[in-house]
Symmetry: C2
Subunit: 339 residues, 2 copies
């Protein structure tokens, strides 16, 4: 039911995913009538791998996250996350309210052993090489300790390996300069922790402009900086689009320019717009949650399902747990766990 378009996007995307994967079964949670309306004439080879759980309650995009726990335990979102909690589903994909999804995830699934807090990981298209860089956290938390930044680094490194197939992903910390003495005490402490962690390929600090170069595969930061970074990026792309559009009226050549550059820029913005980034995973929970953007059309939502599938196949939560256990053995210390 989530996102701007509800079942008119999520159901066709679900059918595409079923068509692409013979061994996939999907459970749709939401208003039965609205879902059924999207299913008329669907081939039985697909519909027989589709289960519908009816609920008339859904979390609104502008609901305060806290209200989900109080008022929306019967909502499609809460029930979906609960299916993961109960082991009846391997992953949950939603285009709904991010804050609510995160809260439901933390409440029902809890964090993995060794992980203090979950993080949202986004990928941004980069350095004109057809590759993406992962950035986390982009908004699950506001502030983070050095220890939490280390956890983000480990989770991001695993995600880059699994989803992008990068061997030994280069991990960097977002900072205001490269020198050791730069940044807050937390970032400098995190740098030491990352440096000491042998399973990480830590490459040092990167500055804001270097996110878009080939310096790192994973950029680690607190959720406030990460959120501002990806939103700012989207804003710049948009302003350039507008500048090009404005130049349309000035001459024949620039009219041509505007015409030609628009799709390119629109595509780039769609990829880096935080309100639009797709398949942003919530990492660090005992279960897989992928957040599709609210504006997603069915192809985008389909990709979010694909991403969830990849994480299921590669058992990302188990990989994280094992890496954290190994770290615990190496560092010889008890790691913080939550709840």
């Amino acid at each position: 039911m989530g996102g701007d378009f509800g079942p008119s996007v999520t159901v066709p995307a679900a059918l595409s995913a079923l068509a692409a994967h013979d061994d996939l079964t999907l459970i749709l949670l939401g208003d039965q009538a609205q879902i059924d309306a999207q299913l008329s004439g669907v081939d039985s080879s697909l519909s027989q791998r589709l289960e519908i759980i009816h609920t008339s309650v859904c979390v609104e995009n502008d609901s305060k996250p806290e209200s989900v726990l109080r008022k929306s335990k019967e909502s499609s979102m809460f029930l979906a996350v609960n299916l993961v909690h109960e082991g009846r589903a391997d992953a949950c994909v939603s285009a709904g309210n991010t804050g609510a999804l995160l809260l439901a995830g933390r409440h029902l699934l809890k964090t993995l052993p060794g992980i203090s807090k979950p993080a949202i990981i986004a990928s941004v298209p980069l350095h004109a090489m057809g590759r993406s860089t992962y950035i986390l956290d982009v908004g699950a938390n506001l502030c983070s300790s050095a220890r939490e930044l280390l956890e983000f680094a480990i989770m991001g490194s695993i995600q880059a390996s699994v989803v992008s197939g990068i061997c030994k992903p280069r991990v960097a910390l977002l900072n205001v300069g490269h020198e050791e003495h730069k940044g807050t005490a937390i970032i400098r402490e995190a740098a030491q922790l990352l440096q000491q962690t042998e399973s990480l390929n830590y490459v040092g600090f990167v500055e804001g402009n270097e996110i878009f170069t080939d310096k790192a595969d994973v950029v680690v930061c607190d959720g406030f900086s990460g959120n501002i970074t990806i939103k700012t990026s989207a804003g710049v792309v948009k302003v350039i689009e507008q500048m090009l559009k404005q130049s349309v009226s000035s001459s024949f050549f620039s009219r041509l320019l505007g015409l030609l550059a628009s799709p390119l820029l629109r595509q780039l913005r769609a990829q880096i717009d935080p309100a639009q980034f797709n398949g942003a995973s919530v990492l660090g929970l005992q279960g897989i949650i992928v957040k599709s953007h609210g504006h997603a059309h069915s192809t985008a939502f389909f990709f979010a399902i694909e991403q969830a599938l990849k994480e299921v196949i590669d058992c990302v939560p188990s990989l994280i747990t094992r890496r954290m256990e190994a770290l615990q053995l190496t560092h010889g210390e008890v790691l913080a766990t939550q709840d």
Copy 2:
């Protein structure tokens, strides 16, 4: 002596400024021989308004800021700031090491009454309307209290009035959402302070992407976020430039596109690149310091001198002091001052 090009940029820029302003007198600090080499054949109507103070010491771009106070008291930068301190100059313009300039400024000039810490203000070209938005702090500090963010808001508001002639500049706080409950405790407290301050036209929170729209004239944030914001912006512009360049080989039309868009993007990047932003003022000190970027060519350095002139003519430090005094009377509290 500062920046990548030293006197070969700063001296021609100084001569242009003298030519543009009959009542301007400039003092150049640095290596006499290198400066003289740039002055051969200069009209006496200009050179008679030019004073040279020789020193062979200069702060390197990669020096640690602290070393300036220990080792470089005879450096051209330190001596230039000291001239402002002694009242022998009305403003200092430098293209040198930012950290060192800031430290020299804080050490020699001290902060204005009511101002806890100086901030660096940058302007970014925006919303395709030929206007700029000011953003501060972009790196003088890492973290800031709510009180300090209020001071930044007041200083930014004055700067936008003076330099851009904006009446009642709209001031916003950079945050991860618009709702009152969003952001850190510090930002939420700052929002209350800004709201309560009648002399400010506070318009609420803006998100990263909204820096580039017409929502605010002044965006207030801590130096860490501000630094990452402007550097990220520059990075995105560069990646789009590269994408357009790459498309050059694909077809005639896209070749044309790349050709046409390049100057537009280069110009935009030059304006928003933090390593390149020009005329970034250090606000909040008992004296005027303008930081020109290290890569500045003489036209850019000339504009930095022009900006310093505007601040001198409008007595920006006095305006800040008066606004802080008025605030003190209204709020009926003793404001923190430093040193």
